[in-house]
């Protein structure tokens, strides 16, 4: 039987960047016990000899020529920005690796 603990859910929520209340962590963990049981059925028939299909179409080598096409204007690019400054997107301080 597959299940996810409250801590498992918390770790997944961290990876997925979603803040979750304690109540939400617990209830999702309960729901996942049921859902994972249902979806784990795929393992019953997924033998080693079956090729995975990641895409419904058998397409290959779809490319575009290296040609510049007009970009958005900076006004359009920034039109949805929650905050901006000097034609740049303004975002809260970034904690983490220095790029």
């Amino acid at each position: 039987m597959s299940s996810l603990s409250r801590d498992d859910v918390a770790n997944l929520a961290r990876l997925a960047r979603i803040e979750m209340s304690e109540e939400e962590l617990v209830s999702l963990s309960n729901e996942f016990t049921v859902i994972l049981d249902a979806v784990a059925r795929v393992q019953e028939v997924a033998g080693a000899d079956v090729e995975p299909t990641s895409h419904p179409l058998p397409l290959r080598n779809v490319f575009r020529p290296d040609v510049v096409i007009p970009s958005l204007s900076p006004q359009e690019a920034l039109s949805g920005a929650p905050a901006q400054e000097d034609a740049r997107f303004r975002v809260p301080q970034i904690l983490g690796e220095e790029a």
């Binding site: 979603i18 979750m20 299909t53 929650p82 809260p92 301080q93 904690l95």
Partner: protein, 497 residues
């Protein structure tokens, strides 16, 4: 006038009996009158629609060559970007966002002079089967306002059934065009994957998503299908081949000698008795029209739902990562000293609804290291098996058929706390998406026990979309002569304002 089919409206426009402005205004009036009860629309672009209609009328007056649907109004699912028009995908996280670009579908609608009335309601990011997951409140089924109109494209199907628009655009990842069509007594088509461009379609599950036409008749769906289909260099997964001749097929409806395969596994237990009755009756009508009914088996379809609920959440967990409060959309918690990370976390907590979060977490899990092979990898293998089932079956028949969904429309709120029960709604529609083939739902009548519409599903091999239109047109014609009037004429009159 609003009760006509799009093809009939087009004929009246062509003869000058009416104008696009008059037609558009009539639909705007209807929306104004009934939509407070139905809630099919999230945004109505009154000025834009009337301006577009006036422009088509002017072109017509100048004698310009116009497309078959020029001047006909349409309702656009809010998952398609339209430049300058609010586009939310039914989510709070995109509230107020106005895209700076048109989706390819919208560009094609505009090029065909089809008048866009506004944006229709949907389950948030197309995740759901009832439209109850919209952040902006549920849409109501015009047949019974206490019931769901299907989902995710419940706004589009309800708009058609309520005569707020004769045409609509839907998108179908696991049945989001076909199931709403089934429960509202309308026609919905999911073309072959790659038949209609996904550029500008806000992605839920990239390898499954497909936009398609919604209408009240098979011919209307075909006309809209040809207007929006075709190769698009902006979508690498778009098919570079001629569009199947679906309008000709819808006009012909000749099924003599065609083999129609009834899928053994998509019937029987779990299917409501009235659904089965109407399905059997439809088979008889098709046989009477000259088709040969055969039984086909698809043993791996029973794993389709499980595979779907791994693949779609996995892809969505990645597709929805871009909603992070940095470049557009909602931003929550941007107080002094807050970090980008905490703002992302808080915004995604507040901006996403419960079902979306559930699927993102599930997908994050299915892709995580150590679990990938067991979940996502196995689901991809099931996908191969389902495609093989279709290939085997299509050796024995030209199209496959089944009921579109196991039941008629359920009550709003009835299944909202039981995700698995909700997911079971899509059991018959999902295999089509897994294999990337074409699927159509059209009305097969009302279930005797509840008087609600039942949908009949037709599945055609990839790139053979015209076959489902042939069969759909034949069944539609047979049912129409049996009923004497379109099914929707039996729908209750909606209280106007």
């Amino acid at each position: 006038m609003i009760h006509l089919s799009a093809a009939q409206m087009a004929a009246k426009l062509a003869t000058g009996e009416t104008t696009s402005v008059a037609l558009t205004q009539a639909h705007l009036d209807r929306i104004n009158s009934v939509d407070s009860g139905v809630h099919a629309f999230l945004y109505v672009d009154t000025d834009g629609a009337l301006a577009q209609a006036a422009a088509v009328d002017a072109k017509r007056e100048q004698g310009q060559d116009l497309s078959p649907l020029a001047g006909i109004p349409l309702a656009l699912k809010d998952v398609m970007t339209q430049k300058g028009i609010p586009t939310t995908a039914g989510s709070k996280i995109l509230e107020g966002w106005r895209p700076p670009y048109d989706s390819t579908v919208v560009s094609k609608l505009k090029a065909n002079d089809i008048v866009i009335l506004g944006k229709t309601n949907m389950d948030e990011f197309a995740m759901g089967s009832s439209t109850e997951n919209s952040a902006y409140g549920p849409t109501h089924n015009p047949w019974d306002l206490t019931r769901i109109p299907g989902g995710s494209g419940g706004g589009s199907s309800a708009a058609l059934a309520a005569f707020e628009a004769p045409l609509a655009i839907g998108t179908d990842t696991g049945g989001s065009i076909r199931q709403p069509a089934a429960v509202t007594g309308t026609v919905g088509v999911k073309p072959t994957y790659g038949g209609v461009s996904r550029f500008g379609l806000i992605a839920f599950s990239s390898s499954l998503d497909q936009a398609g036409p919604c209408a009240r008749t098979v011919l209307d769906a075909a006309l809209l299908h040809e207007a929006i289909a075709g190769h698009d260099p902006k979508d690498s997964t778009s098919i570079n081949a001629p569009v199947p001749q679906v309008v000709a097929a819808a006009k012909s409806g000749d099924v003599k000698g065609m083999k129609i395969g009834v899928v053994k596994e998509l019937n029987g237990d779990g299917y409501q008795s009235g659904v089965r009755t109407r399905f059997e009756e439809s088979l008889e009508l098709l046989a009477a029209a000259g088709a040969e009914i055969v039984e086909v088996s698809a043993p791996n379809f029973e794993y389709a739902l499980a595979a779907y609920y791994l693949i779609a959440p996995s892809e969505c967990s990645s597709n929805l990562a871009r909603f992070d409060a940095m470049r557009y959309g909602l931003r929550v918690g941007d107080v002094d000293g807050a970090s980008a990370e905490s703002v992302m976390n808080l915004t995604r907590e507040v901006g996403f609804g419960r079902e979306v979060k559930r699927r993102i977490i599930l997908g994050t899990y299915a892709l995580s290291s150590g679990y990938y092979d067991a979940y996502y990898g196995s689901a991809q293998k099931v996908r191969t098996l389902i495609t093989q089932d279709f290939n085997n079956a299509f050796e024995k028949c030209d199209v496959m058929v089944s009921p579109t969904c196991p039941t008629t429309a359920f009550k709003i709120g009835e299944k909202s706390n039981d995700p698995i029960a909700m997911y079971l709604n899509d059991i018959a529609t999902i295999p089509v998406n897994m294999a990337g083939i074409g699927g159509m739902s059209l009305p097969a009548g009302l279930a005797p026990e509840d008087g609600l519409p039942v949908g009949f599903q037709i599945m055609s091999p990839a790139m053979q979309d015209q076959r489902m239109y042939l069969v759909g047109a034949a069944l539609e014609a047979a049912l129409l002569s049996k009923w004497g009037a379109p099914l929707l004429s039996k729908a209750p009159e909606l209280a106007g304002k």
